[in-house]
Symmetry: C2
Subunit: 129 residues, 2 copies
């Protein structure tokens, strides 16, 4: 988790999120490079990616740095923070803010693999020293 984050900023949409993932994986990138990373699997045109980048810049979730005629884009928010707020939103909305019920749900939905369970067990043991 990181500090103030300073700019809660508007929410990032799902399409925009795909762009963020590309930038979290590697940055800075040019619009074309981002497009190369995401356009194919989402079936987007370069124009679409550019629009998404502009919107992210407008939302201050991405910053630009001039590089000659073009821009290099970098995320201004950290993935950890994003993931954190999104997770919290879900837990708040669906589980009354308590995380355990989410686990209960995942368990009951058999959405946990054996490795998941082992890993969680490890984590819990760690938490209790």
């Amino acid at each position: 988790m990181t500090e103030p984050a300073d700019d809660p900023g508007e929410r990032i949409s799902e399409a925009e999120h795909a762009v963020m993932e590309a930038l979290w994986e590697q940055s800075p990138l040019t619009a074309t490079e981002v497009s190369d990373k995401v356009a194919e699997e989402r079936g987007w045109s370069l124009a679409t990616v550019k629009t998404l980048l502009s919107r992210l810049v407008a939302k201050k979730a991405v910053s630009t740095e001039p590089d000659g005629r073009r821009f290099l884009y970098s995320p201004t928010i950290e993935r950890t923070d994003y993931v954190g707020s999104e997770s919290r939103r879900l837990v708040d909305r669906l589980f009354g803010g308590r995380a355990a019920p989410l686990l209960v749900h995942l368990v009951e939905a058999e959405a946990l693999s054996d490795e998941d369970i082992d890993e969680i067990e490890r984590l819990i043991r760690e938490l209790k020293q």
Copy 2:
């Protein structure tokens, strides 16, 4: 988890979800009753609640049963299923489909209370008999 669910249906928006929660808590209910349960805390007018109910009916997430001049509304999808698909969406989108990383995140974000941790421990123990 319940069977086929038959109608994946369009997605339920956040405002619509608040209406669903009211109906999951108790149903069937009239539009006015639903409104009584949710309008206040969300600052909605009765008209807004009616709109949301219509949209939910259109999305087949809620069914109606005539009761004299008015309708009684009931959810057609179960909360468990909704919670399941929303949780899965999040886990897929943010954690590559694995649930353990979500836990790791919650732990690292200190988003788990002591009770949460105890409960999870219990759960895990249960899972391993």
